[in-house]
């Protein structure tokens, strides 16, 4: 009998983590039950029991860290006795990708999920003094979630399963599409986002269970939610950038079910981040917010179910397996617990205030939520419709980009519009005078932008069959001009008030303004980033592409670029066979650079040979020249080159960076307390306050 010390250590660590999590769940629950009615942390026996549950929760993080370490160790030491390592690595794989093998398959990615959940739980339990009782509730709920994932890892998808038979000398290797630097960062980021929503979910459910007085739990979870949202945003766009750079089809978002699964919780999470402000500031929308965060968490689990159960087909999906039933059960249990708690504690969620005017910040948040949820429903509907169609009609249908683009583009434009006008509206009520004052500049900017765009040639009626795309771009660019002007005007208006108060210069006043209310101005910067992303997305309406055979000296012209083929060749390397062409790129008569689009065949001469496209990219702020080597024409033996000219692509990535910067800023605490007006004489002053505090 062979000994496998590291896999056995990993399996033991997983089992120990499960035992510790069960203890945290059960004993934490018992302690909370015995201390019910207490507002602070429980004393006496219940308190001590609760403390042991907290420590067991902390220990489960250590046990799961050991399990994750064991799998990474097995990967680094080429331990092909472990089935997972055999199927996802090989000896030639470099160090970074050996590490990323941890999340390149089903079992490993579930282990990553459980480990991240325990890491979040570790931080939460270490910071329990923020609010001992609420943290105890959240810790117990997180333990419940962790028990589910650990049961999966121990019984349904064990990552340390031993490969029967003699140990192989080399592994099957990592999917070549995953051998790209972004794939080392993208999945952990995405998982940090997915898993992170468990924390605000646990706090919300816990606060509801214990009938937490006031809105302090929102303050406690605000940073958790924002950080989680940031991770999910980064994860989604790193994935989009990877798809653009690696898959070689010229696009970055294919509306694949796996992509949709990440977008849905992002949409509801964004809605939650907005509407929770209404609860924080005005004690409104409590039931709505609770359901938003419940839905966000459930969508993260549903997304995992969709991609791992094989109920929808996806190019990304992990192999179909039997873990779908586990997820169905878990979703049902979570939903039942949420529903039961909600109805039991419904009276605790009564609004303290009511909406006072249709034209107010509150109603703009309501519409913002409506739009985001409509987009989420569309994505969910599109993802599940093939299953429904098969059930009703007996035939599957495809829900591809044309469906999502047609339905979601108007929704997106409405969202862009709200991004502009929402911050211009005051809380409670906005007067006509204020509307005139705040909207005049953005309206002028939109008018000017529209005229300029029409003059430079963005005319839908001249675009033939592409008129819809051109119209979308025209509206987007026009709205973007208005929103950017509105955001700039908000900064300038606030800074001029600070300048009047302090006598500082305008730039110094702007910095002071931002430092006084980082959340508000960080939010504006996030909105600005979103607008920049919209501009980049709208540029897609003017994409051009051209495909042709290119022998030596042949020329391909696309937009302002001219590509001349200098040579084409093929080569064999240890890991792959390769074919590539060398293309000189000219603009006018000036040679800019040389591009080398390449096609690789990994594992050649085997039954699992896999082609991979190495895109050649020349990227500027105005456009991307994106060139791929499609293969050789069997008759002429010349390479077939496809070139895309994608305008404004970089704006999308720059927009994401701005969103990240804005979120970081919003996370920074205010350095100076926002000034409080000493007297409020009339409602009009309240409104003025809304714009300048």
């Amino acid at each position: 009998m062979r000994l496998h010390p590291m896999p056995e250590f990993g399996s033991f660590a997983l089992l120990l983590a499960l035992a510790l999590s069960v203890y945290t769940l059960v004993m934490g629950g018992v302690a909370l039950w015995h201390s019910r009615g207490a507002t602070a942390g429980a004393d006496g026996a219940a308190g001590r029991l609760g403390e042991t549950a907290r420590r067991a929760g902390i220990s489960s993080f250590i046990a799961l860290s050991c399990a994750a370490f064991a799998l990474v160790w097995a990967s680094f030491t080429n331990d092909y006795s472990v089935s997972y390592i055999l199927h996802h690595t090989n000896r030639a794989l470099n160090t970074a990708y050996k590490f990323s093998a941890l999340w390149s398959g089903q079992e490993g990615s579930l282990l990553l999920w459980a480990w991240l959940l325990s890491a979040y739980g570790f931080v939460l339990r270490m910071r329990h003094k923020v609010d001992v009782r609420l943290t105890a509730f959240a810790s117990t709920i997180l333990a419940g979630i962790q028990v589910f994932f650990l049961m999966l890892l121990n019984f349904a998808a064990p990552p340390f399963a031993i490969q029967p038979g003699p140990v192989a000398t080399d592994g099957f290797g990592l999917n070549p599409l995953l051998q790209y630097p972004e794939m080392v960062i993208h999945p952990p980021m995405l998982y940090l986002g997915y898993v992170g929503f468990s924390v605000p979910f646990a706090f919300a459910l816990g606060a509801l269970m214990m009938r937490y007085p006031g809105e302090k739990w929102i303050h406690i979870t605000r940073r958790w939610t924002m950080v989680t949202w940031l991770f999910l945003t980064c994860g989604i766009f790193l994935g989009a950038h990877w798809a653009y750079s690696v898959l070689g089809w010229g696009g970055y978002w294919g509306w694949d079910p796996v992509e949709n699964a990440s977008l849905m919780p992002w949409l509801t999470g964004t809605a939650f981040l907005h509407s929770v402000m209404m609860q924080e500031k005005r004690g409104m929308m409590k039931s709505w917010n609770v359901w938003l965060i419940f839905s966000t968490f459930l969508l993260t689990i549903l997304g995992t179910l969709l991609t791992r159960s094989g109920i929808v087909s996806s190019v990304h999906a992990f192999a179909s397996s039997n873990i779908g039933d586990w997820f169905y059960g878990f979703i049902l249990i979570v939903f039942a617990v949420c529903l039961f708690t909600f109805f039991k504690q419904k009276d605790h969620l009564k609004s303290e205030n009511r909406l006072e005017s249709l034209v107010s910040r509150e109603s703009s948040f309501l519409f913002n939520n409506l739009i985001l949820l409509a987009a989420c429903f569309t994505v969910l509907w599109g993802t599940l419709f093939p299953v429904l169609s098969e059930y009703v009609q007996g035939t599957k249908v495809t829900m591809g980009a044309p469906f999502y683009n047609r339905v979601n583009l108007p929704i997106g434009l409405f969202l862009l519009f709200l991004t502009g006008i929402g911050p211009l509206l005051a809380w409670r009520s906005t007067s006509l005078r204020s509307i005139r004052r705040n909207f005049i500049l953005p309206s002028i900017a939109m008018g000017v932008a529209l005229v300029v765009l029409l003059i430079v040639g963005v005319r839908p009626w001249e675009a033939g069959d592409d008129w819809q795309g051109t119209l979308f771009s025209l509206v987007t660019f026009t709205l973007a001009a208005g929103v950017i002007t509105a955001i700039t005007a908000e900064f300038l208006r606030g800074a001029s008030v600070v300048r009047t108060q302090t006598g500082k210069s305008l730039p110094a006043s702007t910095v002071l303004l931002v430092r006084r209310n980082t959340r508000r101005y960080g939010g504006y910067i996030v909105h600005f980033g979103i607008v920049v992303m919209f501009i980049g997305i709208a540029g897609g309406a003017f994409n051009q592409s051209h495909e042709q055979e290119m022998g030596f000296g042949d020329t391909l012209t696309l937009g302002q670029y001219r590509l001349v083929c200098q040579s084409f060749t093929q080569d064999s390397k240890p890991e792959f066979d390769t074919e590539y062409a060398l293309l000189d790129v000219y603009r006018g008569q000036k040679k800019l650079l040389q591009l080398a689009p390449e096609k690789r065949i990994y594992f050649p001469n085997t039954d699992h040979a896999q082609p991979s496209t190495m895109v050649a990219l020349h990227s500027t702020l105005a456009s991307d020249l994106y060139v791929i080597y499609e293969g050789r024409d069997p008759d002429s033996d010349k390479p077939i080159i496809k070139a895309f000219l994608n305008p404004l692509m970089n704006w999308i990535w720059i927009g994401v960076l701005i969103v990240v910067a804005g979120t970081f800023l919003a996370l920074v605490p205010n350095m100076t307390r926002a000034p409080v007006r000493l007297a409020v004489v009339e409602p009009r002053l309240v409104e003025a306050e809304a714009h300048h505090v």
Binding site: G250, K281, V397, G523, K599, V680
Partner: protein
């Protein structure tokens, strides 16, 4: 007769608009549009004109068929129906065959409209209630200055 004039004008405008759009239609743009409405059936799940697999046995054949059908003068709908009949409904990148396929398009719109009406109704109900409450509090005792100021500060901080 006189009452029909605006309608006639509208019809004329629609005809002119269609003429402008149709006359401006570029064959390559049409090919591009229809090619982006279909999926390569090799199993890659990519849009037909974006399939970039080395030696894909399916997409060159399908693209050739698309060229042939376009040259023969078929309409976009008839071409897509032809492909759906030959390759199955999954060849279409979006469900457009009518019948139950229409549900795919109607449901998001219906949910959006219902939700908008719901939000509108909610806002109206809240604003009416709030109006009554403000009227009632106007005749009641005055609110403490500090408490009011704190509430205003809290509510208007963002």
């Amino acid at each position: 007769m006189f009452s029909l004039r605006p309608r006639r004008w509208m019809q004329a405008c629609v005809v002119c608009l269609l003429a402008v759009v149709m006359l401006g239609a570029d064959p390559s743009a049409r090919f591009n549009k229809v090619g982006h409405e279909m999926i390569c059936t090799c199993g890659c799940g990519q849009i037909l004109l974006e399939c970039n697999h080395v030696g894909c046995p399916v997409s060159p054949v399908m693209i050739g068929e698309l060229h042939t059908l376009m040259d023969a003068g078929g309409s976009n709908t008839s071409i897509m129906n032809w492909f759906a009949a030959k390759y199955g409904a999954t060849v279409l990148a979006a469900p457009i065959r009518g019948g139950f396929d229409n549900v795919a398009w109607i449901a998001p719109l219906a949910v959006f409209l219902l939700a908008t009406v719901g939000v509108g109704f909610l806002i109206r109900r809240w604003t009416l209630r709030s109006g009554r409450r403000v009227a009632a509090s106007a005749v009641g005792p005055g609110v403490g200055g500090d408490a009011m100021r704190e509430r205003i500060r809290r509510e208007t901080e963002y």
